[in-house]
Symmetry: C2
Subunit: 349 residues, 2 copies
Amino acid sequence: MEELELDERKTKILDAIIRNYLETGEPVGSRTISKYTDLNLSSATIRNEMADLEELGYIVQPHTSAGRIPSDKGYRFYVDHLMEEKNREVSEMKNFVIEHTEKVELVLQQVAKILANNTNYATMVTAPSYHGNKVKFIQLSNVDEDQVLAVIVTEANLVKNKIIPVSEPIDNETMLKLNFLLNSNLNGLALQEINLGTIAKLKEQAGIHSDIISNVLDTVAETMGQDDDIRVYTSGTTNFFKYPELSDSAKASELISTFEEKQQLASLVTENLLEEENTGIQVYIGNESPIQTMRDCSVVTATYELGEGVRGTIGIVGPKRMDYEKVMDNLKVLKNSLDGILDRRNGQT
Amino acid sequence: MEELELDERKTKILDAIIRNYLETGEPVGSRTISKYTDLNLSSATIRNEMADLEELGYIVQPHTSAGRIPSDKGYRFYVDHLMEEKNREVSEMKNFVIEHTEKVELVLQQVAKILANNTNYATMVTAPSYHGNKVKFIQLSNVDEDQVLAVIVTEANLVKNKIIPVSEPIDNETMLKLNFLLNSNLNGLALQEINLGTIAKLKEQAGIHSDIISNVLDTVAETMGQDDDIRVYTSGTTNFFKYPELSDSAKASELISTFEEKQQLASLVTENLLEEENTGIQVYIGNESPIQTMRDCSVVTATYELGEGVRGTIGIVGPKRMDYEKVMDNLKVLKNSLDGILDRRNGQT
DNA sequence: ATTAGCACTCATTCATATGGAGTGCTAATA
DNA sequence: TATTAGCACTCCATATGAATGAGTGCTAAT
């Protein structure tokens, strides 16, 4: 539908304006375009076309006698229709880091860092929510006279533990019974599948030790995480200073704060993590982003899936004139490196 | 020795200059002091004294016709001799947060945040190194045909786990034997006490399963942490923007980067964490700090001790004209809240 | 339909002028 | 001898204004 608004010449001119602006960050004038393109048109003609493009909302003038810069709508058009998908075979990305690091959280922190270094934008990576993940193994053991250790392992090899205080020692026989009880009832179940019936049954069978069962179930819930405390790893937040349009104290401070708070970043994530079966890449330009402080930025996110149902998000935040091609290319490569990583080797927390 | 340099009048004037500068952040002139103090001296006299103080190195002039600002030496004198130790009974600090949060790492993150909000400076809190901590309990269990889970609990109730791949399933009897072996040999030992002899003996007794023992020992080492990856929680890094002398892009960016990297921050810590039995509070003014990027800042740190040998550091970084009294007061209160917290309740990781 | 030409706008840059804060020094004073 | 008043001087900060130049919109010519 939008395409109808723009004939080929206007499209070419818009493309040229945006590409030029992405490079320089300066408003681009008619004379520049007149030479930059192979259209062989005078600056005057370009000026007329630019006036049209402005009226249509694709570009704006910062002030009367300046060149034009792309509007949000202009960027959107660029991302949707003009941009080339590079799909370079291999970026210089250090995949080996991913292969060799042991812990998932370190990998993710690394990913954030690599991406930030590579792109010169701020990055964030959310730890996966283990939504839908299943219990593989539960074990209680005596640590002390008055403490019991509960360990829970999930199908994705995520391990969580909790120390539970008990009023009096539990003998070995009881412990064996409890362990059997837990494993036989919970193994293979996802959080959503543990219903009140199961819980009641478990507690009943546990008798006087039902409080321990409660504690274990709490930990299970926490492990499989109704993602209330999504972890977010960030990097390169000072990259904002590299772009004049974001680097004045007020804006930079606001942005960096948002990255420090992390919580807010989660809102970007939850959105497209659950709702969509989207394997692709999401681009938010300016006000399209749900985060207010990023109204002058563009945000590009990708969803990765370490293993069945174990999903997280990688995101890049930069100026609206970011190098979308490079960013998306980088995201694709990293996404591919992360996808299915749990099936290839064993992770832990 | 220093006191000999300054008679009472000079001391009063210096004190007045510094206090005034701490408030305003502007160079302070002779006329201001003439009124600010109860000395009843004319500005001319003050000027003479200020010339002396400058010659002695306690204050400097940013440029010819400006007032004076404290030098590093001046601040040092202030901190050592002039400042009042407030020791307010209770600051408005939300101790309940500390009491009620469950996990140590969350507590520390909270501490960083509270402190940053309270002081308007950037803060960092290092997770404790469990140096000298002892093994309380080790357990191996079968998770899979080809995976074994190792769980290690220390005296301080720190729990770590690792999933170890094995080439072939291990039967229950062997597993019991290995568990007994590990516990009987390692329980009660600190990392430093596990020597090559112990290790050799263990491996010998484990026979064909010595590789598992190696893996467990690795995890033990990692748990008791030869603090190679000290965790650092930070907060309030954008507070730097509140102080003009630190808020230009270049400096702010550098500082915030340092906080983002976190590793560098560790150097501040290791220093006074191990060397000193110092229960007190450390102040680094300007170049006294080991971290280059903080040459225009002051850093105040305190060591806390969650439990026997479980020590970490809280630090505050701000402009040299920081409110030392308030900062040190805050640190004391938080330090008191954290000290011995592990003895009061059970923590975990 | 395109282009050349021109008047106009507005941000940026530079030099210059102005005001004020604060000093150092000297001479007068208690 | 210690203190103070007074004055010339320095230097920053801010304002002012002119010059520059990039870029536009419009009109008339091609």
